[in-house]
Structure formats: structure tokens, C-alpha cells
Symmetry: C2
Subunit: 224 residues, 2 copies
Amino acid sequence: MAEIICTVDVVLLTLLDGQLRVALLRRDHEPFPGVLALPGGYIHPDQDGDTQVAAARVLLEKTGIVSPYLEQLATFSGRGRDPRGWSLSICYYALVPTEVIRLAGHPEVVLVPADGIAGLPFDHQQIVAAALERVRNKSSYSSLPVYLCGDTFTLPQLQSVYEALLGEPVNKVSFRRKIEEFDILEPIEGAMETGKAHRPAQLYRLKSRYRNRLSLTDRGLGTG
Amino acid sequence: MAEIICTVDVVLLTLLDGQLRVALLRRDHEPFPGVLALPGGYIHPDQDGDTQVAAARVLLEKTGIVSPYLEQLATFSGRGRDPRGWSLSICYYALVPTEVIRLAGHPEVVLVPADGIAGLPFDHQQIVAAALERVRNKSSYSSLPVYLCGDTFTLPQLQSVYEALLGEPVNKVSFRRKIEEFDILEPIEGAMETGKAHRPAQLYRLKSRYRNRLSLTDRGLGTG
């Protein structure tokens, strides 16, 4: 039977200047050498326990980043997507604060605005579009956007992350009620954000047991 | 590099006696010969355009069924799930009226209650659980359950399909409003369901352009 090329690709998203960006790397080999593409690579059955482990390994090897949130998106496949032959890629998406990418310090990582992205090789454009749809959809009813914040943040900062993702203003009262329902944040005692024009705001962090989990609500977040 | 076993599996769901059931087949070869399992098979790169095509082919070959709704669920993978070696299965789920399974007439297809299913080989139990979660979640905000109905149905029949899936009563008024918003059904002129104790009810069918698509609502269906 003909061989199937088995790879993983990762859509690593971050928020920079209020804009969702995707981390790309210039490919260093055929096909498409020198072209910006998603970080990806072959599955190594001798090394990877499963495809999730493969995706985390590839992300670390190519970008130096460990993402606390890494979720399977979908599998893209077929005869036409890779000039080397029939291939499938199990795709994942990850969300990290830009700080994490900066600290990893890989000079090759380029952060490109995710909306309207073009010129990617293979079917990477479709993969990015699918990731954006998933992230926006999931943000409307879950705590997912928290993974785009740094270790500590104020509620107004978190609200603006939600608004940047959803692309519309969020009602402050229902936003705060939902965040309270999620019960995933804890105030950092005595820590206030100061030095701004506004009055000091309480700093929060994710409760430690939620660092890898999502909280869901069965209703929307009260956008509009 | 070690070879990866690439397969597809299909969770074919139907509603029988108000209960979600999954179609299983007795395996006719190693591993697990004689054991009931999901219909599945190898991807044939020489034959299948992509994994979706592979899943439709395998479903047809093993059960005689063409499902108008077939969606990718997730990819299950790893070293431990198949005794033959490192494997991955791109899993799909399909919804059909029981009538379609009966007409396909494959005597080997067994319809087993999906909730609390046990004794399946590989990680098929996990796959069925993931499919149930997806279908129930999606049913709460989309027209997905329509695919479990026959060609024609009344609104009370459709409502009872939603209720069987969601496992709770649905408010009739908000249910009808949502179905109207979906705008996917058309009344069949002059066709009424008669011969029941209740007064005759209008028969509906899916508009032809929606036979393969879902309609979504951004709010729930008003359960409870």
C-alpha cells in the first residue's frame, strides 16, 4: 500500500496590539523553502506517545515554547495538499501570551496578523481559518481567552482580551458575572495595578488547578 | 522511520425506541476477531481523495449506508491503542434515520444503546463517548437532529427527537421559534399525518439545499 505522510502542525496564537497573531517560521527545506509556514513536522512513532505529544514536541523544537493550552483542531488530509504525496496533518492550536514567545527568544518566529492571512504553503491558510473560527466560537462561552493573558492581569485587561477576540464590546456586568461563575481566578493579595490614569485595579491570576483546563458556560457572555 | 497504521472509524448513530444507538459490526479478522466494533478500515491513498472520502467508502463497504451527514470528530492515536503498532484513526460520526439502516439490509449491523456502552475493542469506547458529547452539544444549538428523522416528519416528532438527544424536555414555543429561524424545513403541501389520537399534523421535509448543511443558532433551544 502507498505510504501516507503523517505530520502535525500547530497554530500558535497570541494577542499583540489588540490583534490576534499567528506564529510562523520560514521553512528551511523542500517543499517551499524560505516560505513562512506553520510550525510542523513528522510524527515520530518511536518517540511520540500520541499525536498530542508529537505536537508539543514539534512546537518546543521549532519555537522553544511550551504551551499550557494545546488542543486538537482537526485533521487535514489528501492527495493534493503536499507535493511529496498523500499526506495527513493532525492540527493543533495553542494560545500563549506574547511574553512567552518573547522569552522563548527564537529569532525566526514571526507574528503575523491571523485575519486575512495569505501566501501560506500547503493548506495552512485553511488550517489558520479553522483555528480562528474555533477560538472565537469557544471564547464566546468559555474561559479560553485567559490563556492569552500573562500570569497576572486585571479584570478590565481580561475583558479587553475577550473583546479583541470576539471583535465586539462585551457587557461589563454580564462579563464579570460569567467570570465569577467560571470560578477560575483568584485575586493576588495586596497586588494592585497602579500608575495608570484610572484608579488602581486588583490583579488576578488563574487558580493553579485550572492552568490546563477550560471552564464553560452554557450561555453566551453577553456581547453586544 | 517506523510505520504508522492509518485508519478511519465511523460512529454511525441512529434513534431507535427513543434511544440513541450506535451501529457496530463483528470484526472478521485479527485483532479482536468476533468482537463488536465500530465500522472502520485502512485509508487507501490510491483510492481515497482524503480521509472524509475514506470514511464514506468504509461506511458504504461495511454497512451499505450512505450518510448525508458525516462529520470529522477527532483523531485518536498512539502506541497503545492497536496491538499491531503505532496507529492513528481519523474518526467521523454520522447520523441516519433507523429506516436507512434497515433498508441497507446488512444483517451484520447491530444497533447497541450508545450510552454506557462497554466491551468495545481498541479505544472505541472513548470514540463513542466523544461522538455522543459532540452530537448532544451540537444539538443544543443547531439543526443536527433533523438527520435522525426520516424524509418526512411532523414538528412534534422532530421535537421528540431533540428531547431524546438532549435528555430533557424542550419548550415547545421556543423550539418552534428556533426551527423557524433555521429556515430549513418546508411543509409538504396537502400532506398531513393522520390516524393518530391527536388532530392531524402537518408533515415537513428538509429543504433540498440543506440536505448536507447545518443551521446554527447562537443561543440554546430553550430546554428545561
